[in-house]
């Protein structure tokens, strides 16, 4: 498995065929309005660099994680010509984690993810599972996603 890391956000590369199959199936479930919290998939944000944004999701950046205290964010805002970056949410997102999505699809080129406190990284075209690193709270005896 190939993994990229920017601060507390991990991008783990996944099998493209499996992801596309799962995505198409679950996006169809969502479009039919069927309630199935585990499997429904939604687009949370999108970035492309070759046309002007047209709607709310169709923005100029694709945010994958957002810092609660600092307002800093891990976002795709640059990429090779024609690149399309789409962030997907599957099921629900824990309100305590800074993650904004579960998967990111980088299609038709490479895209760069930026953050205010970390150097940018360029992800090659592919499909990635987005994870937030975890830490262990010894006082509370529990593990949780790192929040910033």
């Amino acid at each position: 498995m190939v993994k990229y890391q920017q601060g507390d956000v991990l991008f783990k590369q996944i099998d493209p065929q499996e992801f596309r199959k799962e995505r198409d199936k679950n996006l169809e479930v969502s479009s039919q309005g069927r309630y199935n919290s585990y499997h429904t998939m939604e687009i949370t944000s999108q970035y492309y660099n070759d046309k002007e944004p047209e709607g709310e999701l169709d923005g100029g950046k694709c945010t994958v994680a957002l810092g609660e205290a600092t307002g800093h964010h891990h976002s795709f805002m640059q990429g090779s010509p024609g690149v399309v970056v789409t962030a997907y949410k599957q099921g629900w997102l824990n309100s305590e984690t800074p993650a904004r999505c579960h998967y990111v699809a980088v299609e038709k080129g490479d895209a760069t993810v930026t953050h205010q406190e970390h150097k940018p990284i360029t992800l090659p075209s592919g499909y990635y599972r987005v994870e937030i690193v975890r830490e262990f709270d010894h006082l509370g005896q529990m593990e949780r996603a790192v929040v910033d």
Binding site: K3, Q5, L10, E135, F136, H138, L139, Q141
Partner: protein, 337 residues
């Protein structure tokens, strides 16, 4: 044989009194028997077999003719027995509680709620480790019995539990509840510690008075950005020098130095008042800021800590009496910034 003169049929009584009335009218003698199948959903069911004196209950899982239990037959020990004359029920299968709203009627379910309580562990990887086995918690409206046990006998007139749980079941439940309380208290203390440290940090930001910040806030704050401010204020080495520490492992990954440090931290919840806790000390490669994040005490090396942090290594369960070991492998990121 039980089936010899049994009448087969499906019924939808949903109430224990109606069920008993049906058997009383349809099989009044001890030698009579009728069999009814009560569906609890599209596929699962409970068989009621008996007469005006005794009704035996069999869940579909007990009477299945496939899988490892395929040799079990309906003539074996029932999962529940209703004594119609004494108006009592004895249950041998906890599933009948789960299915109660369907199989034994909503009135029964109103008095009994069963829930799974998974095993708990505290201070894993330390000599102070505490463990409690899981159990099936039973909440009874009319009784102080707090655990399911096979052979539980219930009065069907006022839904009292007529017998007491065996010591083994009671001790398991008591032990679990004690540990659950300790854990809940620990979490409440952690939340309060975070709130107070946040208030101090807020005060410092508003007034510029650094004396309000305590060094221990570096261990109490949940948010890493807030924590980093405290670390920058005192310096990580000063914070660590203020308490007992042990460096468990040092490693360098792609020229980035990491340290696994064990720190002694005050904990009013523990018997000794202090507890050793593992932390991973690392440097942000983009800004050179120091990060200090907790990792489980079962972690022994930097690589294990990094793997656990990234969700690639998990503590492996080795049985109740053996310490956990770490299972998995750390995958080095292709790029880390």
């Amino acid at each position: 044989m039980a089936f010899a003169n049994a009448n087969f049929g499906n019924f939808d009584q949903r109430n224990l009194r109606n069920i008993m009335d049906t058997f009383t009218s349809e099989a009044p003698k001890r030698t009579d028997s009728v069999l009814y199948k009560q569906y609890i959903n599209g596929s699962r069911y409970v068989d009621f077999l008996g007469n005006a004196y005794k009704i035996n209950l069999f869940t579909d899982y007990s009477t299945q003719t496939w899988g490892k239990n395929r040799k079990r037959m309906i003539t074996q020990r029932p999962d529940g027995i209703i004594d119609v004359k004494k108006q009592t029920i004895v249950l041998h299968d906890w599933q009948l509680f789960e299915e109660a709203s369907q199989a034994l009627g909503p009135e029964f379910y109103d008095y009994f709620k069963i829930s799974n309580r998974w095993s708990l562990e505290m201070n894993a990887g330390t000599p102070d480790m505490m463990r409690a086995d899981g159990f099936k918690e039973l909440k009874c409206k009319n009784s102080d019995v707090n655990t399911w046990f096979p052979g539980i006998k219930i009065d069907l007139v006022n839904y009292n539990v007529l017998n007491k749980p065996p010591k083994k079941y009671k001790n398991t439940a008591d032990n679990w509840k004690k540990l659950h309380r300790l854990r809940a208290n620990g979490r409440a203390r952690a939340r309060k510690g975070n709130d107070r440290a946040l208030a101090r940090l807020d005060m410092y930001k508003r007034t510029g008075d650094a004396s309000v910040i305590e060094m221990t806030d570096a261990f109490k704050l949940f948010n890493v950005s807030d924590r980093r401010e405290v670390i920058e204020m005192f310096g990580m080495d000063t914070i660590l020098a203020s308490r007992d520490t042990k460096v468990l492992d040092k490693d360098t990954v792609d020229e980035r130095p990491y340290e696994l440090v064990s720190v002694e931290i005050e904990d009013v919840g523990s018997i000794k008042g202090v507890r050793w806790c593992n932390y991973l000390r690392m440097v942000n490669p983009s800004t050179d800021e120091i990060h200090f994040e907790g990792v489980p005490n079962t972690v022994a090396t930097v690589k294990q800590a990094l793997g656990w942090r990234d969700g690639e290594i998990e503590p492996k369960w080795n049985g109740a009496n053996n310490p956990r070991t770490m299972e998995g492998e750390y995958i080095k990121p292709k790029i880390l910034t």
